[in-house]
């Protein structure tokens, strides 16, 4: 990383997310749970970083802390060089939840327009943004439908369009495809990768699927439970163009194997 700081302007090297000795503890006394401990991590602009690990490893907690939805109890955490709270107030990130969390009383278009509505943008701007982003996730024809009229995969795509509507430079995704079948998930993975390539945003992606993490990421953060911590950070150097069948190449399988080994080392399979 040192050579980068000498050749590139500081804006490119400055970390979007930086965690130093971060820890998060829930409860106290007998009910004390260490969700995260001694987390050191820097995520650079334009990276696609996956957090992977079994349930209870704190990957979602880490993501929620970045989003200022959980409060760190120790260490230091910054987003765009500011506190997570400041970054949230500046609407620095878009967040995609495990479930679509669409508002059932709004049609798809109005769901996608919700963030811009709260940010006080004009109706014309909201409409244009909704049109653009629904096109991006392939839902243009469904703008006037209501969430319950769409399949689970389509709902999740709508929630991604909603997160993209205000063009955040940072996209936080919490197991967004966890509840979907594998075929739908493959399709959405291709979509997401395509989107990331075109927009040059930074993505932090929580998953418990090894192939998904290897396929999507430039770096994979392997985490382990009890207490939640980072056990390894593995680069996934498969290039930016990744057709689905890259998953059958030896390079892909090698990275996947490294991830599995790291999960073992973290005794995640106990």
């Amino acid at each position: 990383m040192t050579w980068l700081s000498q050749t590139a302007p500081p804006a490119l090297t400055s970390a979007v997310v930086e965690a130093c000795d971060l820890s998060i503890v829930f409860g106290s006394g007998e009910h004390r749970t260490v969700a995260l401990t001694t987390v050191d991590l820097a995520i650079l602009r334009g990276e696609f970083v996956s957090l992977i690990g079994p349930s209870g490893c704190g990957k979602t907690t880490l993501l929620r802390a970045i989003a200022d939805l959980e409060q760190p109890t120790g260490g230091h955490l910054s987003v765009n060089g500011k506190t997570p709270a400041q970054a949230r107030r500046e609407r620095a990130y878009g967040y995609v939840f495990q479930a679509p969390a669409l508002y059932p009383w709004r049609n798809i278009e109005r769901n996608v327009m919700l963030p811009l509505e709260i940010m006080g943008r004009s109706l014309a701007e909201r409409r244009a943004s909704a049109k653009r982003n629904l096109e991006l996730v392939g839902l243009s024809e469904f703008a006037q439908r209501f969430p319950w009229q769409l399949s689970g995969g389509m709902q999740q795509r709508a929630s991604i369009a909603r997160a993209l509507s205000f063009e955040p430079a940072l996209l936080l995704m919490d197991e967004p495809f966890g509840a979907l079948d594998e075929i739908t998930r493959d399709g959405l993975n291709v979509h997401l990768l395509d989107l990331w390539r075109r927009t040059n945003m930074t993505v932090v992606f929580v998953t418990h699927s090894i192939p998904e993490a290897v396929y999507l990421s430039t770096r994979i953060v392997v985490m382990s439970p009890r207490p939640g911590r980072i056990v390894d950070v593995i680069p996934s150097d498969l290039g930016r163009d990744r057709p689905l069948d890259i998953r059958d190449t030896p390079e892909f399988l090698q990275v996947a194997h490294r991830v599995r080994t790291a999960l073992h080392a973290g005794r995640s399979y106990d």
Binding site: D68, R91, A101, Y103, W105, L114, I118, M119, W148
Partner: protein, 289 residues
Amino acid sequence: MIRGAARRAAPIVVVLLGLVGMWYAAALALDLRAGQALAGSGASPQALIAAAWSLERPLLPAPHQVAQAVWSGLFGEPLGSARSLLYHAGVTALTAALGFALALVFGIALAVSIVHVRTLDRSLMPWVVASQTVPVLAIAPMVVVVLGNIGLTGVLPKALIAGWLSFFPITTAMVTGLRSPDRMQFDLMRTYSASGRDIFAKLRWPASMAFLFAGVKVAATLAVVGAIVAELPTGAQAGLGARLLAGSYYGQTLQIWAALIAAALLTLLAVGAADCAQRVLVARRGGRL
């Protein structure tokens, strides 16, 4: 399609015919003695039955007598007349509507403050529940007397009693409804750094509508009940409650039954209006509330 409708309607019609038959039989049993007195000792059985079913003050009037009393009360009297059922129903409807409107505004405001201020949740909610354990028949005369003393008479004291009964289902439904969004829906608002006003207007309020309408339908019926109860002790000259009271003073059973049926129709109308409002909202939401 017509055959399908007929098939669905058939059991309802059978039950209805059964009930009407039982009603006629009961009317005959209860009114036979008075019928005998009217028809004289030598009357044929047919004349006896006809007499029992056409008494002026039957113990239990026959269905056609009630129907006739309702019909002539609604449409057979001039509107200004004290015998016009339509006039009395109108007075009760006005009281109920005003009481319901008060309950809607007050009930929703109360729910909003209970949801947003934690201390109010603990301090107010028990009183809201307690307010409903007081028998409204006991409260009504006191409200009327106290308000009458400070110069408030007419429709307002009665509307307050109707509102007293009907704010409760609205408040409890709205408290539940405003709290109904799940954590993820609230978290979403937080990621947008949404203001409290936005969270209310764009999340809590629209999420509460399904609950509100459930409460509104109960409240609409209670507003009619409350209006009628309020007309009993106010010494009211007008309203369905006054008709019920006057009818029981003078043993005018037909008048009582006609007022009862009118009250039931009024309640149906109130619930139907709430249902219409709900349908409009459901249509705007693409078919679901």
